[in-house]
């Protein structure tokens, strides 16, 4: 099943980008997503470029932004004092990710690129998967679809993005910095991941010869009052069935002056709940308002044979996450 690959270690960012110009090349950082994909036969590069030693693991705190290097380990980002204090929702999402062992290896950049855990994608014994084999169909549509999408899906693909971190990044207005052959560019987190549409084989808008170098978290009035709620089938080390990253700012009269909501486990990309946000903005922060916003966001949701429950679960999770951030000190 597995096909051997050649190995080279990049000396710097330019070297990495240059080496990636050749087709069949994959960047390798922590390896925690790549190696299972490779062992399952889902990734078969002819060569890997080890970027693990590039000087991209720093976490830099400035007045207006926290810059997390792409090679920062999830455990190190989660434990960073400024991230815990200024971006609690992100720290919680990182700590809710995977296991302690994996968090010691996995990187922030790699987590942005994490592939879906859809059973039909991950096991080549299933003949149908448009993500793995475009045009072959979607095994999940009529199959066992408990973990699958309820928002933004297409007839071609109902897979979900499995990352916790991405959901928090979506709520915190993160910007992904990438280096390509023609220099650097910035990709707002909302534009980084894609909905499946008719090309579910393409997860992100990152080009093959582009290297993620950092994630910027801008200072916002709501970041310190952020929270990540993860619902899963066991207490720890499981992917989200539904998750919510919420952040809020309220004025002295309890009116909502800024709010961010993003959902995980429900879509092909971290789902920024903009309809709910619009509902909430300017309203009094209370349970009734939260419930109405949740109803609005999930009005267009579509469930399948085994995941209809996610629609109600997502609504309740939104209300609970917003109630939690209201209880946090501003």
């Amino acid at each position: 099943m597995t096909s051997p690959f050649a190995y080279a270690r990049a000396t710097d960012e330019q070297d990495a980008v240059r080496l990636a110009a050749q087709p069949g090349t994959a960047f390798l950082a922590g390896g925690t997503d790549f190696l299972p994909l490779w062992k399952a036969g889902l990734a078969a590069p002819s060569r890997v470029i080890d970027i693990g030693r590039l000087a991209l693991d720093r976490i830099e705190v400035r007045d207006d932004v926290v810059v997390i290097g792409a090679l920062a380990r999830l455990a190190d980002a989660a434990g960073h004092p400024s991230i815990r204090r200024e971006l609690p929702g992100l720290a919680q999402a990182l700590l809710a990710s995977a296991s302690p062992q994996v968090r010691n290896m996995a990187t922030v950049g790699g987590n942005l690129m994490q592939r879906t855990r859809c059973y039909y994608f991950y096991d080549p014994a299933f003949p149908q998967c448009n993500k793995r084999n475009p045009g072959s169909g979607c095994g999940a549509l009529q199959g066992y679809n408990r973990i699958h999408a309820i928002l933004g899906q297409s007839e071609q693909c109902i897979a979900t993005n499995p990352s916790d971190m991405n959901v928090a990044l979506a709520a915190l207005d993160a910007v992904v910095r990438v280096q390509g052959p023609k220099g650097e560019r910035e990709i707002p987190i909302a534009d980084f991941h894609r909905l499946p549409g008719s090309t579910p084989n393409v997860d992100t808008n990152l080009k093959e010869d582009e290297l993620i170098t950092a994630v910027d978290l801008p200072a916002t009035p709501f970041a310190t009052r952020s929270h990540y709620l993860k619902m899963r089938d066991r207490a720890s080390y499981a992917f989200a069935i539904v998750s919510v990253a919420a952040a809020i700012e309220i004025d002295a009269g309890n009116k909502i002056t800024a709010v961010r909501l993003a959902l995980g486990g429900v879509a092909h990309k971290p789902w920024r709940a903009q309809k709910a946000e619009q509902q909430l903005l300017g309203k009094t922060a209370d349970g009734k308002t939260f419930q109405a916003a949740a109803e609005e966001e999930l009005a267009a949701a579509k469930g399948y044979a085994h995941n209809e429950f996610k629609i109600e679960l997502a609504k309740r999770s939104i209300v609970r996450a917003l109630t939690t951030v209201m209880g946090m000190p501003s």
Partner: protein, 164 residues
């Protein structure tokens, strides 16, 4: 700019001993421990990072050896279960696993012990008492199909409160 190669020369310190090895580019640390160094105490369970049976300490931090590519580890230090005891003297955590009967079949035990060593080290210099719930959460990367979890938690509590 380095050229891609099928075999990679690496230096590894394993349980205090230095090794120079030529490893296949696609070999994991787990495979190298077994196939090149005959250290079979580190177990291959799922080989996909889900069970924790292959947990080792890499530069002092717990990782899944099945998810670590050997070629990437040049110059690093690895501690496996074989390096935990001092001669015939068991590490206090090993002794606690025996005293608490924290295993049945024993297949997951090397990974449980290495993970718990990593957990205790992560507690840092504060030397604070770790509660049961925190241990359960922080040992969630290690599965025990025999279900010895209650006694594993007790053994870790014992070892964490009596410094090595």
């Amino acid at each position: 700019m380095s050229m891609p190669t099928e075999t990679v020369e690496i230096g590894l310190t394993v349980n205090g001993r230095s090794h120079r090895l030529a490893v296949p580019a696609s070999a994991t640390v787990l495979d190298v421990l077994h196939d090149c160094l005959s250290l079979t105490g580190t177990k291959k369970g799922c080989d996909m990072g889900s069970c924790g049976a292959c947990t080792v300490l890499l530069d002092g931090r717990r990782v899944n050896a099945c998810l670590a590519l050997a070629a990437q580890q040049d110059g690093r230090e690895i501690l496996t279960i074989e390096g935990v005891a001092k001669g015939d003297a068991l590490h206090p955590l090993q002794a606690a696993f025996i005293a608490r009967d924290a295993l049945q079949c024993g297949y997951c035990t090397p990974g449980q012990i290495m993970s718990a060593l990593g957990l205790i080290a992560e507690g840092g210099a504060q030397n604070r008492t770790i509660g049961d719930a925190e241990i359960r959460e922080n040992m969630s990367g290690n599965l025990c199909r025999c279900g010895a979890y209650a006694n594993i938690v007790s053994a870790i509590v014992d070892a964490a409160s009596s410094p090595a």
